[in-house]
Symmetry: C2
Subunit: 209 residues, 2 copies
């Protein structure tokens, strides 16, 4: 499976790398449906990657895993959530929800149509692309305004709210959708900044499977 | 606007009621597009209800608001997150993500087609209902299994993971979709339990606008 497909797995890997944690990456063969069988479905009953085991704790859902890592390993590597300031934490939570509820719905669809479908030998639906491109433009207008007030989405520090965007932004910047980012200076600078992070570069290097 | 439409607003109201907090409810007239204009867009740049002001803090996204309330008012009313146990907290986060990423996508669509569209004088799309009904059945199968292991989704205590489901479950149980819940004993008992909570009953009483 091409790594561009596995955006959720890379979201978790980026978080682990930001924290500088040691981890073992166990590939799951999606082509044979290994994710729908034991032992994997005991980790995630929905039969989708990724899942995380940390001691006795078994977790799934990429954004729940990153939240756990950010909190449980707060003192390691990059601080990803402002744990000691409830108001700052609340703003990180707002923009984390914006990613999950708004950006991802549109960005994942565009990534699937333009990046993933060709890899899988499927045909891109131009109508779906046009429709979602328009929606993404509206979302990025709000981001442009937000990033004029603070360096990152959740505030002046890089946080989970930014990190969660990285895999999809990375996919989209290799396509014509890049024009939507280029047209917005703050969004463009932000995307270059978050994709340039050493932790993400390590993920791109190590996950060329 | 019929209250059945405003599931996100009711999600936040349910959380405030669980905490027994005093709050002022400021209705926004969606029929005149008040949510897309100042002063509301200064609270939520995406121009959608709800938004919350608490002192100088301005928040939007219902699930970020509930998370803030649960943490900032941890010592009031019902404990909604196990703040002192990182592993229990991680499991609540997993099932909170399951609601946001899986249940809501399907449940909101069904609620929109079957409950909201008739209120707005629009026609329900039977094909969309059938397709999403099948998806919901698969999700509820996983819930049935989960609720056989613990009383609530996030663990043995009621938490935000359950609370976030309430408004959509409430809408769906008034429709033919109830059959999907009735067919699964644990899911059925759970839905009766969470809808019967006094805090939710207060929301239903007070939000008959």
């Amino acid at each position: 499976m091409d790594a561009a497909v596995e955006t959720s797995v890379k979201r978790v890997a980026a978080c682990l790398e930001e924290k500088g944690l040691h981890y073992e990456f166990v590939p799951i063969d999606l082509s044979t449906g290994q994710q729908k069988k034991e032992p994997f479905v005991s980790l995630n009953p929905f039969g989708q990657v990724p899942a995380l085991e940390d001691g006795d704790l078994k977790l799934f859902e990429s954004r729940a895993i990153t939240q756990y890592i950010a909190n449980a390993y707060a003192d390691k590597g990059t601080p990803l959530v402002p744990i000691n300031d409830p108001n700052k934490m609340a703003l990180v939570a707002v923009w984390t929800e914006v990613e999950a509820q708004r950006f991802d719905a549109v960005g994942s669809k565009l990534s699937f149509e333009i990046v993933v479908k060709p890899i899988l030998g499927m045909t891109t639906d131009g109508g779906v692309v046009d429709q979602h491109q328009e929606k993404l433009a509206q979302i990025l207008d709000v981001y442009e305004s937000r990033l004029s007030q603070s360096k990152y989405l959740g505030g002046d520090e890089f946080s989970l709210a930014d990190l969660h965007h990285i895999p999809i932004v990375n996919n989209l910047l290799g396509t014509k959708i890049k024009a939507l980012f280029d047209a917005r200076p703050k969004v463009s600078a932000w995307s270059v900044d978050i994709l340039g992070r050493p932790a993400w570069q390590k993920v791109l290097q190590s996950m060329k499977f």
